[in-house]
Amino acid sequence: MKVMMNTGRTVPQGESVERKHSPEYESAASVCFIHPVDMMVLGIEDGAHIRLSGSGGSVVLTAVASETVEQGSVFVPLGPFSNHIVSGETHCTGMPDFKSTMVEIIPTEDPVPSVAELMEALGGVRYAH
């Protein structure tokens, strides 16, 4: 399913943003709010894992049903998870398409990665605090 991904601040993400190693942050930032009808189309339940793929890459997130997003679009808290999908293109404005990236969603059994795993995949070295 192709949808438009919007990103932004949520309270749980904001509360834990200075503690990115915490389970609270990882669970707050790795969710994908999706309309229940779209979930039915995908054949998934609340809490299922889904893989989002966009122009910059792909990442596994936890689906959360929400009627505040429109059908055909999803909302992901800003952070390392949503940014795993966004490309660096700025159309000469300096600003990536953080709130307007088309993504392909498929259900998956793969686990949701941790922030450290995401960074390791990019060439980093995990720091355990």
Binding site: M4, G8, R9, T10, V11, K20, N83, M95, V125
Partner: protein
């Protein structure tokens, strides 16, 4: 010990009415703050010492050794990028700009991935704004466009707008109308008098339609514009023109969607137009506590609010080229100093991949996503918690952040000054 009138450093609201209880050098209770602010202040989780990457692991190091290594990384670089700055105080930002000047680097701040497009729009058409107290005391119409204050600036409504009692607005609930414009029915929409739901990417068209109606050319507006009915647009335009004092607050819903700076320009020009009928102002909802301060400090030193490239000796500014995202996407910089921000979490993946390839030094108190990809991290104290300094509120009001606990950790100004001195000395000056 109870400390009163503490300034919260979290978001651009810079609420300065917090009561903070400190016991044995720790913050144990925060009153008056929103949950974002109080969690930031109470649950502060820091690196205890500088750390450096050693092969496949990490070891602690000293401040002296870390500053020496950071200086060498910057001295060895041909095109260093100095990025971040929005969570630290102005004094540190100033040294950061001078460090970039000294080494011919690029210095950019987090507005580049926040309200950078708003700055571009302001540079085209200006900015009719005011301090937040003007809104609190006078505004009878508030518009939140592409932003969600309840989640991102939780006290904005109670301190400055919807619920705030003002001199000319004694009964805020009754005297003020609120319009929320967004692509989704967010939490803020629930308190609105009028919710305008725009199709994704439709803001520019909706703003244009409103401008046409305000100018008396509603006849050119089709029955529906980006999912908004003409009837609703006419109603909104009338509410605006009939207001005694209207205030538009906008967020990343305009800067990060199709059109970007042109969306903001259109919103500003709508505000200009409304000033021919009544009093209207517009203001970006700035995110980080001191992001507006980075724009101010960069501007008085270099002339530009962000994305300044010193590689030619003079200050050169060309957003889209000298902006951090573009420099990283092109794989251009060969070293990066990150201060008081977390680009590995907030930059697109291709940019973070490049950061992971080059030496990155991070000056930040918290272990964060950038920690995993940097070579060296130097923890400083936190502006507003254990470091004092200047921050600028989203409306430009400068406020002094207080140090409310004593930790003995050097502040960013001290660390950067030592780094600056070391680089300058090594360059034989």
């Amino acid at each position: 010990m109870l400390i009163k009138d503490v300034v919260c450093p979290f978001c651009g609201c810079l609420c300065d009415d917090l009561d903070v209880e400190v016991e044995n050098g720790r913050i144990i209770r925060v009153d008056n703050a929103c949950t974002l602010g109080s969690k930031t202040m109470v649950g502060d989780d820091r690196l205890k010492a500088p750390i450096r990457r050693d092969g496949k692991g990490w070891i602690e190091t000293t401040y002296d050794a870390a500053i020496e290594e950071a200086a060498q990384i910057l001295l060895d670089a041909d095109r260093p990028l100095l990025y971040g700055w929005s969570r630290t105080h102005g004094e540190a930002q100033g040294i950061g700009v001078h460090l970039a000047e000294l080494i011919g680097g690029v210095v950019d701040n987090t507005s580049t991935v926040c309200h950078g497009p708003s700055i571009l729009a302001i540079q085209e058409v200006g900015h009719p704004g005011c301090t937040l107290g003007q809104v609190k005391n006078r505004a009878d119409l508030i518009i939140y466009w592409g932003c969600n204050p309840i989640d991102a600036h939780p006290r904005h409504m109670s301190r400055y707008t919807t619920y705030a009692t003002g001199f000319f607005v004694k009964d805020a609930h009754r005297d003020r109308k609120v319009i929320v414009v967004d692509t989704r029915r967010n939490e803020s929409a629930d308190v609105a008098t009028e919710f305008v739901q725009v199709e994704p990417g439709g803001d520019y068209a909706v703003l244009s339609a409103l401008r046409a109606i305000v100018r008396g050319r509603g006849d050119v507006v089709p029955p529906s514009v980006s999912g908004v009915s003409r009837e609703q647009l006419v109603r909104v335009a009338e509410m605006c023109k009939n207001a005694k004092f209207g205030a538009i607050f906008f967020g990343l819903g305009l800067t990060m969607t199709a059109g970007k700076n042109k969306n903001v320009r259109n919103a500003i020009e709508l505000t200009d137009e409304l000033n021919r009928h009544t009093k209207f102002i517009i203001s970006p909802m700035r995110g980080h506590g001191n992001v507006y301060g980075t724009n101010e400090v960069f501007t008085w030193i270099t002339g530009y609010p962000y994305a300044v490239d010193f590689s030619r000796g003079i200050a050169f500014y060309n957003p889209g080229e000298t902006t951090a995202i573009d420099i990283l996407r092109r794989g251009e910089c060969d070293a990066c100093l990150v201060v008081a921000s977390d680009p590995a979490a907030h930059f697109p993946k291709p940019c973070v991949e490049h950061l992971a390839r080059i030496p990155v030094v991070q000056i930040d108190p918290h272990p964060n996503a950038t920690t995993h990809i940097c070579r060296l991290q130097i923890p400083g104290s936190v502006a507003g918690i254990d470091a004092a300094g200047t921050a600028y509120r989203m409306d430009g009001v400068p406020i002094r952040l207080k140090a409310i606990i004593e930790t003995g950790v050097p502040n960013d100004t001290e660390i950067l000054q030592r780094l600056y001195n070391r680089v300058r000395e090594a360059k034989g000056e």
